[in-house]
Amino acid sequence: MKEQLKIDFNKIQKVSNFSNRDIEIKKSYLNKFIENGFPNRKQENWKFLDINQIISNNISDLSFYNDYSIENKIDSSIFIDDLEHNKIIFINGRIEKIDFSYEDKKQIEIIEDSYTIDKSENNNSLIDLNIALSNKHFKILIKKSYSLKKPLIIYHLTNERMKSKNINLRLDFELEQNSSLKLIDFFSDDSEKNFMNIFYNFNLDSDAILKNYKIDRSLNKNLKYSFNNINQKQNSISETFVFSAGSDYFKNEINCNLKGEYSSAFINGIFSLDDNKQHEISTTINHLVENTKSYQLIKSVLGKNTKSAYQGRIYVDSKAQKTDGYQLSKAILLDETSEFNAKPELEIYADDVKCSHGSASGSLDDNSIFYLMSRGLNYKQAKGLLINGFLLDVIEKITDAEIKDLLKKMIGLKK
């Protein structure tokens, strides 16, 4: 793999035009990745689902080379019709279109960003890989007190040209004071056996609001990893919702740094898995100052041969008095081959806090099924109704009415 990486890295540099400084930085991250390789189960964060093993089982001869100069055709049929929205379209990891037609152009800036060396010691080798191999990356800046009129949908599309490839992409978002952004990540694939590695970095200034909805619904045989790093200042709010269902493997990692007083973070997620799918949500909420709040609710419905994992970590610094932290994960196991893993973790160094977590897993309640069947539903309907009710709980946490409706329609909870 080492040789392959080096060859592919050089090939990418030939077809792209990075500054010498950027290339140096990328090289240092490449070397770091070569040294550490893909994460494996020996690392705590990868204990339940070992990406190294999953990649080698699913993709033979993973290639890291991506020719970002080839233009791809945009297939407009996959666009979401029910909702007026701004678009960023990635096809095979290449930005094909950026369209903010609903917005005041003066309030949004799209800046081509150069790389900087991340001083914080991250131990995530997938981020190293991302920095080393991703194409030019952009920063989207939303100016002071501007709220986007329509949501922004980022389409992550792949076409059949891609096979056994590693796709890396990165976006940075800067939300200035009192601004707000609703962001939907929509995944749709016409390819298989690729490994997608997405890295978002969000900086929320005071009073800013970020709502990020990640929808992985259409069935595909790709492996995906997404990392959201969110830095929050005073009074800012971040809401992250993950609908995790379509890909063969998907790990969503969310790292939230609550650096300003009265900032809050909400993370809600649904796993709805069938047929050999393995998904994970891993969160870290760092409560670093007083009066911060976080809330997490994760629910799983697991079918045949599936595995879901939830690792949630709440860290409360000794300065962060009056912290409120809450985690709840629940799972319904539908088949004897399904598996649920959880590690809800609390790490607390301040005494005036309220932190709790809960986790429950089991099968569908026989009494409830019996109740519904005695009222005339057949088994399948009764089961469906119970599962929908179980998941609706999470959907109801979505604070944006339009997007909530869209999701309900997508999942089939509403006609």
Binding site: E336, E339, N341, A342, I348, A350, D351, S356, S359
Partner: protein, 480 residues
């Protein structure tokens, strides 16, 4: 001075902190095959036992010291320890208590564990372990009547080799983790209990561990076998002198419950915790594991952990037999610079197995407390259930409380529920108590005892009283 104040006075000097000046026989310093042979030889062990040790030592050489735990400690030099230390007077084992070195008797009297049977009114049979050897076991006659074997491990190896051979290392194999393997190679003494079929042990059995000599590690090995339909309740207590150095205690405890048998294992651990600046104290790195081998068997762990500089242990249950039950009740209290990383593992293998975990952690001062637990429901463990509750209480903002539960559910018929909370004592509760005439410290004591009650209730009577006192004392000075 009322008794409570006296207790507090005592604690300031850790009342068990004295040393007994007694002549010792020690193995040469260091860890190698010769030392293992020395231990085996001085204990006059048969060859199979020596082979067991050497096999473990071979394996040990390949293992690396684990480093994933929360409390970090300076590297232990395993070559700089004495692996065997025994009072000289024990060389030729005294036949009865009358022949026992009076100094030893005095030590145990000072600890509140009189070994003379006439002095014991509460009817608990005691096996007293001093450094590396068991010095006395009381109430033997009474127990023998019921066919119960309660003796030191060394004696069991001599007198009941079949039982030891059959069960030793079946729950904690010689190929287990670093400290367990080290123990298998160099263990010195401990207790051996065998309860025959259908016998309900008429009294509590108890072991009292005492580390006396300096620069020694205590490697105790306990094996408890409850045969079909039997019941036993076993208590364990521990203390050590105050020393500036850190001392290692790496014990292995194996429990085996056959069909319909029940073992109740209670620990009140009060090793020397180090002084208020975190100097000295015991490293309590213990492997405790119970195997519910038979149908309808039950193993219940209860622990009150107040001592030790670092506590690092996870008393576990392997629920192999159908309908077997595993329970874990724990209170862990850390103060000053103490650190604890403790919890349990419940491995569900059999059908209809049930487990319950109640863990209460209290941290004060500069201490750090971690609950780490695993609930693993195997795909064959149909209709199993687990309930876990772990609550932490923080006193002051220099300490930490952490909860790291691992939950693996591979069976769709089984239910796993986990709850955890972390908070401090609320102002309202304190205000309410103070309003009714309690001073702040009494109020905290009352609330903490209430917080721990669920676990304290599980302890046998005599221990419960002691533990309750200990809880109050351990938190002394942490309020305000």
């Amino acid at each position: 001075m009322d008794t409570r104040e006296k207790d507090i006075e005592n604690l300031k000097d850790y009342k068990y902190g004295f040393t007994t000046d007694i002549e010792n026989i020690k193995a040469p310093k260091g860890l190698n095959e010769n030392v293992i042979k020395f231990i085996s030889n001085i204990k006059k062990e048969p060859k199979w036992m020596l082979d067991f040790r050497l096999k473990a030592f071979e394996r040990f050489k390949l293992l690396k010291e684990p480093n994933w735990q929360k409390p970090k400690y300076p590297k232990i030099d395993y070559q700089d320890l004495y692996y065997y230390s025994a009072p000289k007077s024990m060389k030729d084992k005294p036949k009865s208590l009358d022949e026992l070195d009076p100094k030893l008797l005095e030590t145990y009297n000072k600890l509140g564990i009189p070994l003379q049977e006439q002095a014991r009114l509460n009817g608990i049979a005691v096996d007293a372990v001093f450094d590396s050897v068991s010095v006395a076991t009381t109430f033997k006659g009474e127990l023998t009547k019921h066919g119960i074997i309660f003796c030191s491990m060394s004696e069991a190896i001599q007198k009941h080799p079949d039982l030891v051979k059959k069960y030793l290392g079946t729950v904690i194999p010689t190929t287990d983790h670093f400290f367990a393997t080290l123990n298998s190679a160099v263990f010195t003494d401990g207790s051996f209990v065998y309860i025959p079929e259908g016998v309900k042990c008429p009294m509590e059995l108890s072991t009292y561990f005492r580390i006396n000599a300096s620069e020694t590690g205590q490697f105790e090995r306990t094996l408890i076998i409850a045969d079909k339909g039997s019941y036993v309740s076993y208590l364990e207590g521990c203390t050590a002198p105050m020393r500036d150095e850190n001392q290692l205690h790496a014990a292995n405890v194996e429990l085996i419950a056959l069909d319909d048998a029940e073992i109740k294992y209670s620990t009140v651990q009060n090793w020397y915790p180090g002084d208020e600046n975190g100097k000295g104290g015991i490293y309590n790195f213990v492997t405790k594991r119970g195997l519910c081998k038979g149908k309808n068997s039950k193993i219940s762990w209860t622990q009150v952990e107040t001592g030790s500089a670092i506590t690092w242990k996870y008393p576990s249950c392997i629920l192999k037999g159908d309908n077997s039950i595993g329970e874990f009740y724990s209170i862990a209290i850390t103060n000053n610079h103490q650190k604890a990383d403790t919890g349990t593992k419940m491995i569900h293998l059999g059908k209809n197995t049930k487990s319950k975990i109640i863990s209460k952690g209290i941290s004060a001062g500069f201490s750090d407390m971690t609950y780490r637990g695993l609930v693993d429901i195997n795909s064959k463990a149909k209709n199993s259930s687990n309930y876990t509750q772990c609550d932490s209480l923080l006193m002051g903002n220099k300490c930490g409380a952490h909860t790291v539960p691992y939950i693996k559910n591979k069976n769709f018929d089984s239910n796993v529920a986990h709850e955890a909370t972390t908070s401090k004592i609320s102002e309202e509760q304190l205000h309410y108590c103070q309003q009714r005439g309690l001073n702040p410290e009494e109020a905290v004591g009352l609330i903490v005892n209430g917080f721990c009650k669920e676990v304290l209730q599980q302890l046998p009577m005599e221990f419960a009283v002691e533990a309750q006192k200990l809880v109050g004392i351990s938190l002394e000075g942490s309020v305000g």
